[in-house]
Symmetry: C2
Subunit: 256 residues, 2 copies
């Protein structure tokens, strides 16, 4: 059974896509077979791996709405052991279209069944909302990684998010748990960043990963070249931080 | 008739809330009567003005779903001429609850009618999606200000956003137009920032405001004190940038 992990936070721009893409690449670098599912109509995970959203004929939309078997939607990337189910603009209609469909929260979970055996990790990048797409990801996943930007406004939504995760655990997916919170865009020069990290550690204790991702322009440049950080700037602080996060996740796993 | 402006962009974390709050404060400082409507369940505009989301008994949710007259929902802030219709967690259920309601896209437009006469500007802060809440904002507004973060991934979604605005203009609200795009979190030290600004100006020409908002830690600290930048750090670069944006908007207006 692969480890299925959703990257969720309704606060926008906190590093969901950057964490899913680069943690995925770091796990693949360590020899794991990784599938990344882009569940965001913005298709930022898709373009971060060098695939143009406009060229994508069939996307995760077809898996959710038309029952296309997922192995027909998997796209290879330029990196060995790191595959993608891409997104495209069709996905922006999915939430409204799913409202009338039976078992609407379980569509992703059902479609992932057919390919589960091929991967060690299935990572799911979510849009910035707690709507039906994110609900599908939480119903399918066993773990949720919550990227938390080192900003004051990013603190505000955490209790709403953890309440939603708890609700999904009780009603839809009993095996769902929080894998951990990862601090992103940490700026060692500002007092605010340190305060936010201290605040999150105070509330969530051990559930906050030790690996902290620093703010680094290399990380924001990499998507414009369609590459994960491990390919674009392999010895940068950003690449090191995501490798450290991968090590922590693997150690977590082994300990379970 | 007041100028009703939506702050919209489905990309998350690009500065929608920061721009709505601080442009609003700058316009109030110049003597205009401004109402800010927080249409995001995260309620970041609400907390940025010092109001705790948990203390909000009635919010814009009641205006959209229960027909509560908007003048009963208006809350005064600590700043003269700058009022707020707050958000709270109830709003996160609104999109699903509105699906079955007649004229669901026009709920905000209809409820704003009753208070339009009291304000020079009505600003609407949108969540990071193109769902029914943002649709309500676009149906009610005459102008849309699009904050664009100086990052590569922020470029990707612009065509989807402008297509949606055009669709709303044709089918729902013929007077809707793009007031302008404002570049946010510009970092003069990075090449990426300059490239993104050049790219956006190439595509959108005159529709890009001349005022560019620099990345500034003062701007991200201000919400933790519940104050707009004009109160928290009145002579900072961030405050100056939002005053310049207010001047440009007022000059735009006069020219129309
Ligand atoms: N550690 C970092 N240092 C510098 N820039 C970063 C870092 N992490 C992410 N970014 C940049 O910040 C922006 C927001 O990150 P990203 O798009 O990954 O967040 P997100 O949560 O997926 O956003 P959305 O809510 O829109 O899906 C992007 O432009 C990204 O390139
Ligand atoms: N010019 C700036 N300089 C530094 N930080 C900024 C600037 N503008 C915004 N921020 C910070 O960046 C983060 C994102 O901004 P903001 O929350 O306004 O974006 P948003 O588009 O409203 O996000 P969402 O999509 O979640 O609604 C916030 O923590 C904010 O304080
Ligand atoms: Mg994303
Ligand atoms: Mg916001």
């Amino acid at each position: 059974m692969p480890k299925q992990i959703a990257f969720a936070n309704q606060k926008g721009g906190v590093g969901k896509t950057t964490t899913a893409v680069n943690l995925g690449a770091a796990l693949a670098e360590k020899g794991r077979h990784v599938l990344l599912v882009d569940l965001d109509p913005q298709a930022n995970s898709t373009s971060s791996l060098g695939i143009n959203r406009g060229d994508v004929q069939r996307s995760i939309y077809d898996g959710l709405l038309d029952d296309t078997p997922l192995d027909q939607l998997v796209t290879l990337t330029n990196w060995l052991g790191f595959d993608l189910v891409p997104s495209n603009a069709a996905l922006s209609g999915a939430e409204v279209e799913l409202v009338g469909v039976p078992r609407r929260e379980y569509r992703l979970r059902d479609s992932l069944q057919s390919i589960a055996g091929h991967y060690d990790f299935i990572l799911i990048d979510c849009p910035p909302s707690l709507g039906l797409l994110t609900l599908n990801a939480l119903a399918a996943a066993e773990g949720v990684i919550i990227p938390v930007q080192c900003e004051y406004l990013a603190l505000e939504g955490l209790s709403q998010l953890t309440n939603t995760i708890e609700l999904v655990r009780r009603r839809v997916n009993p095996s769902l748990k929080i894998s951990g919170l990862v601090m992103t865009m940490a700026d060692a020069r500002t007092h605010l960043s340190q305060q936010v990290i201290a605040e999150v550690r105070k509330h969530f204790g051990e559930r906050v990963f030790k690996a902290v991702v620093p703010r680094s322009v290399r990380l924001s440049e990499a998507p414009s070249f369609g590459q994960p950080i491990t390919a674009y700037a392999p010895s940068s602080q950003g690449a090191e931080a995501y490798r450290a996060l991968a090590d922590e996740l693997l150690a977590h796993d082994a300990a379970l």
